[in-house]
């Protein structure tokens, strides 16, 4: 099953980029396929760049719910600003 690019993590997209370049390098591709690979490669480059540009560290806090199961909840940065030391 082929996933859309937006579903890829940076690492996955980066790996696909590497594979695309290698295929283009080694493969005896018909012109149409080669152009297709190149265009996909460029889209991956832009996607990766974009991911790096927009990335923002997410922080969640792991606690236990009523049944004793772990639950992760978003943690506001303000909850971390108080310092005891």
């Amino acid at each position: 099953m082929v996933r859309t690019m937006e579903e890829l993590s940076f690492e996955e997209a980066f790996q696909q980029l590497e594979e695309t370049v290698l295929t283009l390098q080694n493969g005896q591709l018909p012109l149409e396929k080669a152009i297709e690979h190149f265009e996909r490669g460029m889209r991956l480059v832009h996607y990766c760049n974009d991911l790096l540009q927009r990335a923002e560290l997410r922080v969640r806090q792991l606690t236990v719910d009523g049944q004793g199961m772990p639950v992760a909840q978003p943690l506001e940065p303000s909850q971390l600003t108080d310092e005891i030391e």
Partner: protein
């Protein structure tokens, strides 16, 4: 209750002064020996006074060792973790409102009990193989989720988040809060580790606490913590205290970082490098397509050349030439044939001439026929006197009559 209150009320100074006098009246407190382990050892450089805490497993006592007392005692070398026997008196330090031991003499007792317990646990766990290199698991190169076990209030947490945000903002941090000092800390840290494992999303766990005294880091020398790290299915990085502090948690962890910041650094890749890598791959991609296109162009040129060579026009030219060749050869052979035929004809004609009776007649012979029936006369018996004969000569014929 209210009736027993003193009247009028004391000021703080009066109350503290009272307390101080009370302590100084006590026989034992005026001169006593205390056995314990040194921690929080500090020498005030300007004054030369030194301060530390004496402690055992359940209590602690603040101590002051003034410069003059230290000099009288021969400037003993003290350090944290050292078990000592201290002599002095107990009094109340009014300005800070605290009770302390004024030390006059110190005698080392060898390594402290806490230290011995640490050494024993270390030996036991080592014998079990918990520190073995073979148990250490590799860390994921780019974890999407990073578990962190520490106190939510710790400065160390903010330091780590800063490092993670800068180096690898693609990640998600999952904090499992824990008490990192005090009696409940070991169980709390172990529970947080177990919780992260139960939750299962984290790909690596950092167990961290900022620098502190040996006692403040003591939770990380607890067997509960060591066991929790050992049973974690997720690789664990320890980042406890400063460079010089090595705890049992450090020894069990899959990777020992010297500080929380170092732990966060080792846990993730640096996206700055990725940006460079990305540029490099982009360059390769473009180079690839350019060289591919150049190659295809080259192939096209080659094919065009081949095509030209194989084109019908070329074949036609060739056939035309062949045709020319052929027609010339045909012409030549036709002429040869004709000459030959002519020669043959001439020969036959000559032969025919020699066979013709006309030639014979020309030499004086005649052909004789009977005039009445034109029959050739070749014998005497055919002729009778009176017969009319026809003589055919070279240039005509005459009729003659046989004499009777």
């Amino acid at each position: 209750m209210l009736a027993t209150l003193n009247e009028p009320p004391l000021t703080v100074s009066e109350a503290v002064h009272y307390l101080k006098k009370l302590l100084e009246q006590d026989e034992l407190l005026r001169s006593l020996w205390v056995q314990g382990e040194i921690s929080d050892y500090k020498v005030h450089l300007a004054s030369g006074h030194c301060y530390f805490t004496l402690k055992d497993e359940t209590a602690q006592l603040l101590c002051v060792f003034f410069k003059h007392a230290r000099q009288r005692a021969g400037l003993p070398e003290l350090r944290n973790g050292m078990a000592v026997l201290a002599a002095g008196y107990v009094s109340f330090y009014e300005q800070h409102g605290r009770l302390q031991l004024y030390v006059e003499y110190v005698e080392p007792l060898g390594e402290g009990a806490l230290y011995r317990r640490f050494e024993q646990l270390k030996e036991r766990l080592a014998a079990e193989g918990l520190f073995a290199e073979a148990r250490k698991r590799p860390l994921p190169s780019a974890p999407a989720v990073i578990g962190v076990v520490t106190s939510l209030q710790a400065a160390a947490l903010r330091d780590m988040l800063r490092v993670l945000r800068t180096r690898y903002p693609l990640a998600e941090v999952l904090i499992a809060p824990a008490l990192v000092q005090g009696e409940e800390a070991p169980a709390s840290i172990a529970a947080a580790l177990d919780l992260l494992n139960e939750h299962g999303e984290a790909e690596v766990i950092i167990v961290a606490r900022g620098g502190g005294s040996r006692e403040e880091l003591w939770a990380f020398n607890d067997e509960l913590v060591a066991r929790a790290i050992a049973r974690s299915r997720i690789p664990v990085i320890s980042g406890v205290g400063h460079e010089t502090d090595v705890t049992i948690a450090d020894l069990v962890a899959d990777y020992r970082a010297s500080t929380p910041t170092a732990a966060a650094t080792i846990a993730v890749p640096d996206v700055a490098r990725w940006r460079q890598d990305l540029l490099e791959w982009q360059r390769r991609l473009q180079e690839c397509i350019l060289s591919y296109l150049a190659e295809q162009r080259e192939r096209l040129l080659r094919a065009e050349r081949d095509l030209r060579r194989a084109s019908p026009r070329g074949q036609l030219d060739q056939q035309r030439q062949q045709l020319d060749d052929l027609s010339e050869r045909l012409l030549v052979s036709m002429q040869t044939l004709l000459t030959l035929q002519r020669e043959r004809l001439r020969g036959i004609a000559r032969h025919l001439e020699t066979l013709s009776p006309l030639e014979t007649l020309a030499r004086g012979y005649a052909i004789v026929r009977r005039a009445e029936d034109q029959a050739l006369v070749t014998t005497v018996e055919q002729v009778h006197p009176g017969d009319r004969l026809l003589l055919q000569l070279a240039n005509g014929s005459v009729t003659v009559q046989v004499l009777p």
